[in-house]
């Protein structure tokens, strides 16, 4: 939808997907289940860093221009057990960025940074963005695809493949590099009003949504031997084949 929001200024855009924003929550796409917060990602190359900062700039503005989107500015406490400031690519690039003093750090933490970032509530944000796109002429079409070529029948000039892990299964893509990585969090009531992130042996976080609730995490992504991963949620793990977020674009002038 973010892609459509930029393309719709100059192109006719149709979003094709099995699951659409506003549906009953489905485990078949990740977006409704996210934290969701902006945090510069470790290990990003220069191009990826730029894309992240571009994204942040938009979200940061929307927090003020469109509060109904659920996007809010918030204080981040970003801790690392085994990193130095020189390894942090986004140092100095976030608003009100500062390195914390040793006496502000939890036990075992080597580096602490404090800065402003953004948090949003997916179940508000996703339908909000959909509505905004529809108002600007974007069409949403529910469709399941077995291959990218199938969207040709819709008459598009260009297809943007934003299918996420659908790219593992689409017949004409079958990208074997795509992995399905499971994440698990618990959503609780709490008046905590910051974001606490700690990277190290474990990945621990508390993300305030600034609405009286917090998202607590996280489960180590690739640790499949941890019995705590399952606790009553095992039935949600098996995911059927799905294609999400495909859309094409028609060039208006060509029609």
């Amino acid at each position: 939808m973010a892609i459509a929001s930029l393309l719709s200024r100059n192109h006719d855009v149709t979003i094709v997907a099995k699951n659409l924003p506003g549906d009953e929550l489905s485990r078949e796409w990740a977006s409704p289940w996210a934290g969701a917060v902006f945090l510069g990602l470790d290990g990003s190359n220069v191009r990826e860093q730029k894309m992240q900062l571009d994204s942040f700039a938009v979200l940061w503005r929307l927090a003020v221009s469109n509060p109904e989107s659920s996007i809010k500015r918030i204080e981040m406490l970003d801790f690392h057990d085994d990193k130095t400031i020189d390894e942090i690519w986004y140092k100095g690039k976030m608003p009100e960025f500062r390195v914390m003093r040793d006496d502000e750090l939890p036990a075992g933490v080597k580096l602490g940074m404090s800065y402003k970032t953004v948090v949003l509530t997916p179940k508000v944000f996703l339908p909000w963005l959909r509505k905004r796109l529809e108002e600007s002429g974007v069409t949403f079409k529910r469709m399941s695809l077995d291959s990218l070529a199938e969207v040709k029948s819709q008459g598009q000039d260009i297809v943007v493949n934003a299918s996420g892990w659908g790219s593992k299964f689409l017949g004409d893509i079958k990208d074997q590099h795509v992995q399905l990585v499971r994440g698990q969090t618990v959503h609780v009531r709490s008046n905590y009003d910051k974001i606490y992130m700690r990277h190290g042996k474990d990945y621990t976080y508390a993300i305030s949504r600034l609405d009286g609730t917090c998202i607590l995490g996280g489960i180590k992504q690739y640790d499949q031997t941890d019995p705590q991963l399952d606790l009553g949620l095992q039935q949600d793990v098996s995911i059927p084949f799905v294609v999400t977020g495909l859309f094409g674009t028609n060039r208006g002038a060509d029609r």
Binding site: L6, N10, M51, L53, D54, D157, Q184, A206, Q228
Partner: protein, 89 residues
């Protein structure tokens, strides 16, 4: 869950209780993140007759990358659209 609660309590004991039973739980979230071992893929590809722009593999960075990937993908779409015939050779 028990493990998550134990860790947030350990780090923020004044804010979060030690036992899951002491929380007012709104829900449990399980998301399947679409990762890509070789990193994000944002590029053009001609597939048969079709002009494609790929934009996937953001892993846990869906919102982190959202509008930035969008900008890159938009630029790639525009390269197709506004490319002069000569440049195609």
């Amino acid at each position: 869950m028990v493990q998550i609660v134990r860790r947030v309590h350990q780090d923020l004991p004044d804010v979060f209780p030690a036992k899951l039973a002491d929380y007012d739980v709104v829900g449990h979230n399980v998301g399947i993140r679409p990762a890509r071992a070789t990193g994000l893929r944002v590029e053009k590809e001609i597939m048969g007759e079709g002009k494609v722009v790929h934009a996937y593999g953001v892993a846990g960075g869906g919102y982190v990358f959202s509008f930035g990937v969008a900008r890159a993908a938009r630029d790639l779409v525009d390269e197709y659209v506004y490319q002069s015939p000569l440049a195609k050779l």
